[in-house]
Symmetry: C2
Subunit: 275 residues, 2 copies
């Protein structure tokens, strides 16, 4: 049976890459503050980097900031990724970075928005509302989610590092480990992964030990100070997969984004083989 992660692994094999190209049309990076410019920014990145992208990750916020026209641009970006994949003969998974999380009837509408209206393959979600808020997104095994577990920002300390006492246990554990274990339980259809920031390699190592099989989406390399080598050594699965490294500004701000993507892809391969 095809599942989100078998589809992702197929693409990872096709392009020998764990690079996830982030599409963050931040207004300060655009030629002008317009949805047309955001679209142009993303289409250029997609065209240049597709051969090296295991996945693309458009960030909903930067499109929403332009209102309805931004939303229309997001849909065009997604269509462009589909075309680029078809041209390369390999479907490139699209992860909508949206960090949604709502009660079930509302979550259904968000799932419809992401999977039907926009047509992405995967979405990032917050776990704070519990399993019924996740279920509408994971019914179809070909659609996937990455649940926020330990995020890359400094504020992630505030809640995610809390020691929690699970019911029926007297062993406290950090909330991020508890969330990782929940995700493992919820991963019945091979379509639930975790967001684990590359800025906390020791924590990533602990989470990897707790859930040896789950895929991680690990932002924070580059702009946020995370180190690629350390992250890969802490988070890769035994099979050399299980991690997507999203890079946005490190590629979009490079003089030659195509070359930057190729180099990151190769650098990941080199580190993997050293491991």
């Amino acid at each position: 049976m095809e599942t989100f992660f078998t589809l992702l692994e197929k693409r990872v094999d096709d392009c020998s890459s764990l690079l996830c190209v982030g599409l963050d049309p931040h207004v300060s990076d655009l030629k002008e503050p317009s949805p047309a410019s955001a679209l142009d920014f993303c289409l250029t990145l997609v065209r240049e980097t597709a051969p090296y992208a295991a996945a693309f990750k458009p960030n909903a916020a930067f499109f929403e900031a332009f209102g309805a026209e931004g939303w229309a641009a997001l849909k065009q970006v997604i269509e462009a990724i589909r075309e680029e994949g078809a041209r390369l003969g390999s479907r490139i998974p699209i992860i909508l970075d949206a960090k949604r999380g709502d009660i079930a009837s509302t979550a259904e509408a968000y799932a419809k928005s992401a999977f039907e209206n926009l047509g992405v393959d995967c979405i990032t979600l917050s776990p704070y509302l519990g399993k019924d808020s996740i279920e509408p997104f994971i019914q179809n095994p070909e659609k996937g989610v990455f649940l926020l577990c330990k995020t890359s920002n400094a504020g992630s300390m505030d809640l995610q590092n809390l020691l929690v006492m699970p019911m029926g246990s007297d062993m406290p554990m950090p909330l991020y480990i508890y969330v990782a274990k929940l995700a493992e339980q919820w991963n019945e259809k091979n379509n639930v992964g975790l967001v684990v920031g590359a800025t906390h390699p020791q924590i990533m190592e602990m989470i990897r030990a707790a859930v040896p099989d789950l895929w991680f989406l690990s932002p924070g390399v580059g702009a946020q100070g995370g180190e690629l080598e350390l992250a890969l050594k802490s988070g890769l699965r035994a099979d050399g997969k299980g991690m997507l490294i999203p890079i946005s500004r490190g590629i979009s701000r490079a003089e030659n984004p195509k070359l930057a993507a190729a180099e990151i892809r190769d650098h990941i391969l080199y580190i993997k083989h050293q491991k």
Copy 2:
């Protein structure tokens, strides 16, 4: 200084109401599954219920499900609320129910989307990413947030009820109390409230005891099984304010939404005075 909650309290006084009219254009409630029908559904509700609404709460998901056109409809709904408020001579606060939560640079884009592009006054947010994910939304005291604390759904048990051990304390407390206390700390500008579901009145009572001054947004009355009287008795502040009761289907599905809104407003007043 005007703050989000002084503005809300002004409106509460103007209309003697704690009712927050939810605008959830769920596809099953529309004449046809189109953005035009969603817009029509909301405009009718706004026109009929504005005199009794302390606030309006459009739910982003049901608009997003229609893509760019849905987003355009959302903006028109917001403009219609502004016009209705002007006609009534009283600004009606608008709370975007969006439950966003992302790292700071992305949170800035979401704040821009909500407060500048759409022009709402307040947004619901997830606390999972910590303080730096909330800050971009609370810089301006006239704009407010309601942080998810204890949500109305069954899955809220999964994380929110966990016992946590705060650093430097050996007294475990439920995560929802910890979040409530954080919100109290972050409420330096009188613009941070909490989402506390009406479906758990005993928990609401505990949260009210922990944070006597914060505003609650308390969904779950009616469709989700929460009882209005019990909720008000558990959550109202000593001054008879401090709670907004969002109702969506209980009004939109009523034979006469205007009458339903008036009755709920009056019922809340009656219970308040009994208390």
